[in-house]
Amino acid sequence: MTTEKLLFNTGEVQDGVQHLCEAVLRDFKENPDYVLLGLHKQGVPLAERIADHLEEKTGTRPAVGKLDISMYRDDIGLRSGLPLIRETVIPFNMEDAKVILVDDVLSSGRAIRAALSAVTSFGRPACLRLAVLIDRGRPEFPIRADYVGFNAFDVDPAQKIVLKLTENDGEDAAVAIQWR
């Protein structure tokens, strides 16, 4: 049984989401042809929340896609088991699209690297941006987020940050668990 330790409570997470939405909004006003692509699993509801916010503020709702990166990961065989591959839905043409990838936590950067491979196998986008709710600040790859909800640079690297969202888990919160 893994023990969980609360890192960020509901209020803190929701403030972060708000901050992330505002950050994206600033660029979206300039580029209303941006589309959002949420990474399974928590990036998908986050992308929806951002889209809701953009729609509320600008009256324009960006297209929102879902991306599963399992097939593109570089650590296959290193993990103890495989999670279910979730549905990838890309409701726009990737050729020349302006895409904002949305994920929950930027940790090693490997998931984003996999996402870059995944996206480019669907076409050649005009530009790619990255939005994350939580930035841990020590990526293993040269990958930085363009939009960040909040930083969590001080969390012990031995711990994994797990984000919970109401849509999937019944509450908004972030907890720490030991890496397996």
Partner: protein
């Protein structure tokens, strides 16, 4: 499907070993892989850097091509071996042959063999993952999975469906694998054909056995025909191919007994106008080519899962 469920098997040998949850999990995974083959870029890097050996001790065309293509679409490195290109012809034992392959740091072995249980025997003695591509009359799990995938895709479910499998059940690994898989997912399975080829003992597994075709076709949601081999005639299982075709083949006459939406399936290769009338094989109820398409997706899913479970036991 619970979020906590994770695939943890290093081998896929038989559907007899799997739980209903695991079978559903493979089918769900295969749905995503099917979409990969519908894209412009039909390739993902999931097995990049992995080496897969396709070791077909018994000859195969369609299964081997399907596995090879699945491996290529997953970006694996591939080596193909047959009995004639292996040291088996020099009298080396199967286990020694496989251990030599394994010593080359191979990650996965996809294997077909004439002897029942050969892959189980090998899997017990090597640490690389083993995927059974057909052993004797025992098991052909990826064929059954692609059949079930096709049924689920077309019918939306498997539970409660009446699936009739017709023909040489005795010598069929396809029938046995379908039996275990379909029973676990709650289908009603009927085996039909002459008593020489459809032994009553199958009833002990929970299958309905019948020796008259009409009984099997009545109310069937799916009819899966098996290839009848000419050798069985000389071995005395039935008098002639003609007679077999007349009493146990599907033709324009007895297809009228079927419901309008009954699926007609066949694992191939078809003996046209023997077990299956050409017009039925090419007719609106036939999903035979879709089975082939789905086979690729199912094999990609199986390769991905087995390679991804962590390798060494």
């Amino acid at each position: 499907m619970t979020a906590e469920f994770r695939w943890t098997r290093k081998d896929l040998l038989s559907l007899y070993d799997l739980s209903a949850e695991e079978i559903t999990y493979i089918l769900d995974t295969a749905e995503e892989f099917k979409k990969v083959s519908e894209r412009n870029v039909k390739k993902v890097p999931a097995l990049r850097g992995k080496t897969v050996v396709n070791f077909f001790v018994e000859p195969s065309t369609r299964t081997r091509v399907s596995f090879e293509l699945a491996e290529q679409r997953l970006s694996a490195d591939i080596v193909n071996m047959t009995a004639s290109t292996s040291s088996l012809t020099k009298g080396e034992s199967l286990l020694d042959t496989v251990r030599n392959i394994e010593a080359l740091q191979v990650d996965l072995l996809v294997m077909r063999h004439r002897a029942t249980g050969a892959q189980n025997f090998i899997a017990q003695n090597v640490s690389c993952g083993v995927i059974n591509a057909g052993d004797g009359a025992h098991s052909h799990p990826t064929q059954a999975l692609l059949d079930m995938f096709t049924i689920r895709e077309k019918k939306g479910r498997i539970k409660g469906l009446k699936v009739a499998i017709i023909g040489d059940i005795l010598h069929s690994r396809v029938a046995r694998s379908n039996m275990w898989g379909l029973l676990k997912l709650g289908a009603d399975v009927v085996f039909a054909g002459p008593a020489t080829l459809v032994p009553r003992e199958f009833e002990e597994a929970g299958v309905k056995v019948c020796h008259r075709l009409e009984e099997a076709l009545e109310g069937a949601d799916v009819v899966n025909l098996l290839r009848i081999q000419h050798e069985r005639q000389s071995a005395g299982f039935f008098p002639s191919i003609n007679e077999y075709s007349r009493f146990f083949g599907i033709n324009q006459e007895n297809i009228k007994r079927l419901k309008p939406d009954t699926l007609i399936m066949h694992p191939g290769p078809i003996n046209r106008d023997v077990e299956l009338d050409s017009s039925v094989a090419d007719g609106p109820n036939s999903v035979i080519l879709e089975q082939v398409t789905n086979g690729l997706a199912v094999r990609m899913a199986v390769l991905f899962l087995v390679a991804g479970c962590g390798g060494k036991r």
